[in-house]
C-alpha cells in the first residue's frame, strides 16, 4: 500500500504567496484533482510533489507500508505527463521508450513496445522520429513512457491538452483503470476531469 503524504506545504516566489499550509494524504486507490485559475500554482504544486521544486515550508513524503521510500524507489514508482515535459524529437518513438525503460531498469521487449504504442494509439508510428509527430501524438507518446514503469504514483498536468476526442477518451479510460492500483493526481481546469477523481483541491482562493 503506497501513500503520498503532504504536510503543511507552502510555496512563495519572493514576496508572492502561491499557496500555504496545504495538507492531504492519498493512499493507493485514491485520486485527486487540483484546479485553479491560471497562475494559481497547479503545476508548481505538482513539481513540489515530485521533488523538482523546493517548498518554502512543509513536507512531502512517499511511503510504502509505513516505510519512507528512498529517492531511487520514488523515481522508479512515479510518472508525470505534462506539457512541460518533452521527449527527444531526434529519436523515434521506440527509441524514446527504450531509453526511458533502460533508465528505469526495465528490459523492454519488442512485443511490449508494440503493446505500449497500441495502448496509446500510435501503432506503426514507433519508427518515426518524434519531431515528425503532431502535438497530440507527442502527448500520446508521453503516456506510453509514463505507463512503461507501471507507476504507483501517476501525476498528470493538463492531461487532455493537445488531444482529440479519441485521445481525451483514452486519457479518461486510463485514469479510470489506473486509479484502482495507483495514486493519481491531476492538475486540470477541465471540469469533466474532476469526476475522474475522488477529491478536489482549488488553488488561488
Amino acid at each position: 500500500m503506497y501513500t503520498l503524504k503532504v504536510e503543511n506545504l507552502s510555496k512563495r516566489f519572493g514576496s508572492r504567496r502561491v499557496f500555504s499550509d496545504l495538507s492531504f494524504e492519498l493512499t493507493t486507490g485514491r485520486s485527486l484533482s487540483i484546479t485553479g485559475r491560471n497562475g494559481s500554482g497547479k503545476t508548481t504544486l505538482l513539481m513540489l510533489l515530485l521533488g523538482l521544486h523546493h517548498a518554502t515550508q512543509g513536507k512531502v513524503s512517499y511511503v510504502c507500508d509505513s516505510e519512507q521510500l528512498p529517492d531511487s524507489a520514488v523515481r522508479a514508482g512515479t510518472a508525470l505527463v505534462s506539457p512541460y515535459l518533452n521527449l527527444y524529437d531526434q529519436l523515434t518513438g521506440e527509441e524514446n521508450l527504450v531509453f526511458f525503460a533502460t533508465l528505469s531498469g526495465i528490459n523492454l521487449s519488442g512485443k511490449r513496445i508494440d503493446e505500449l504504442l497500441a495502448t496509446v494509439g500510435l501503432e506503426r508510428r514507433g519508427v518515426d522520429p518524434v519531431g515528425a509527430y503532431s502535438s497530440g501524438m507527442k502527448q500520446r507518446l508521453k503516456y506510453a513512457v509514463a505507463l512503461l514503469k507501471d507507476p504507483a504514483y501517476l501525476f498528470l498536468d493538463e492531461p487532455t491538452s493537445n488531444l482529440d476526442i479519441d485521445g481525451k477518451l483514452f486519457v479518461r479510460q486510463l485514469v479510470e483503470s489506473r486509479r484502482r492500483n495507483s495514486i493519481v493526481v491531476i492538475a486540470t481546469n477541465e471540469e469533466e476531469d474532476y469526476s475522474l477523481t475522488d477529491g478536489l483541491i482549488r488553488l488561488g482562493q
Binding site: L52, S72, A79, L87, D89, L91, F100, T102, L103
Partner: protein, 225 residues
C-alpha cells in the same frame, strides 16, 4: 543501485547523446569549426616566421580550451532548451546522468583533438619527435577539462546567459590544469623525457581525482536544484 545498473544507465545516457549528436552534429561542428579556424588563422598570420616552443604549447591549449568552451556546455543546455531535462530528472539516477554526460564530453573533445592535433603539427611546424608523450599529456588534459566543465555545464544550464557564464565559471577552475598542461606540453615539445615532466603529470592526475570526486558528490544537488 548496483554498479552494473549504474553503468548500464550511464551507458544509455551516453548512447542517447551520441545518437542525437550523430543525427544533428551540432556540438561536433561547433567544436571543429572553432579549432580548425583558429589554427588556420594563426598559421596564415605566422607565415614562415616560427613561434617559440613555449608559445606553441600555449597556442595548442588555447585552441583546445576555447573549443571546449564552445561545445561542452551543450550537453546540458540542449536538454534544457529542448525541454527534455524534466523527463531525464524524473527517470534517471543523477550519477548515471553525470557519468553519461562526462563520457560524451570526453568522446567529443577526443574526436576534436584527433582532428586538430595533426593539423596543429602541420600548420605550426611544432617539433613532433615525442608524439606519444604529447598524446599522453593531451589525454590527461582532455580528462581534466571534461571532468571540471561537465559539472559547470550542469550549473549554468538553467541560467539566462549560459555561454558567457560557462567560460567565466570554468576559467578559474581550469587555470591550474591549463598551466600544468602548457608546462608539460612545452617540455614534451622541447624533447624532454617522461621523468622530467612527472611532476606536472602527477599534479594533473591529482586534479582529476579531486574534481571527479567533488563532481560525483555535488552533481545530484546541482541537478535537482
Amino acid at each position: 543501485m548496483d554498479s552494473f545498473g549504474l553503468a548500464s544507465k550511464a551507458f544509455a545516457v551516453l548512447a542517447k547523446d551520441l545518437r542525437l549528436e550523430w543525427r544533428t552534429r551540432y556540438a561536433l561542428n561547433t567544436i571543429l569549426m572553432f579549432g580548425v579556424t583558429t589554427l588556420a588563422v594563426v598559421s596564415f598570420s605566422l607565415g614562415q616566421a616560427g613561434l617559440p616552443v613555449k608559445l606553441l604549447a600555449a597556442l595548442y591549449w588555447i585552441v583546445v580550451f576555447f573549443s571546449a568552451m564552445a561545445a561542452l556546455a551543450q550537453v546540458f543546455t540542449r536538454e534544457e532548451e529542448a525541454g527534455t531535462a524534466l523527463a531525464l530528472r524524473l527517470s534517471a539516477d543523477p550519477n548515471a546522468v553525470y557519468l553519461g554526460k562526462l563520457f560524451f564530453n570526453l568522446i567529443l573533445l577526443s574526436t576534436m583533438a584527433a582532428i586538430i592535433t595533426p593539423l596543429y603539427f602541420v600548420f605550426t611546424d611544432a617539433p613532433a619527435d615525442n608524439i606519444l608523450l604529447f598524446v599522453l599529456v593531451l589525454g590527461l588534459g582532455i580528462v581534466a577539462l571534461c571532468t571540471a566543465t561537465t559539472l559547470v555545464a550542469a550549473i549554468i544550464s538553467r541560467a539566462a546567459v549560459r555561454g558567457a557564464l560557462f567560460a567565466v565559471l570554468s576559467f578559474p577552475i581550469l587555470l591550474l590544469p591549463l598551466i600544468l598542461l602548457v608546462s608539460a606540453s612545452d617540455s614534451v615539445l622541447l624533447g624532454q623525457s617522461i621523468s622530467e615532466i612527472l611532476a606536472p603529470l602527477q599534479a594533473l592526475i591529482a586534479y582529476i581525482v579531486v574534481m571527479l570526486t567533488a563532481s560525483i558528490m555535488l552533481f545530484r544537488f546541482v541537478w535537482k536544484a
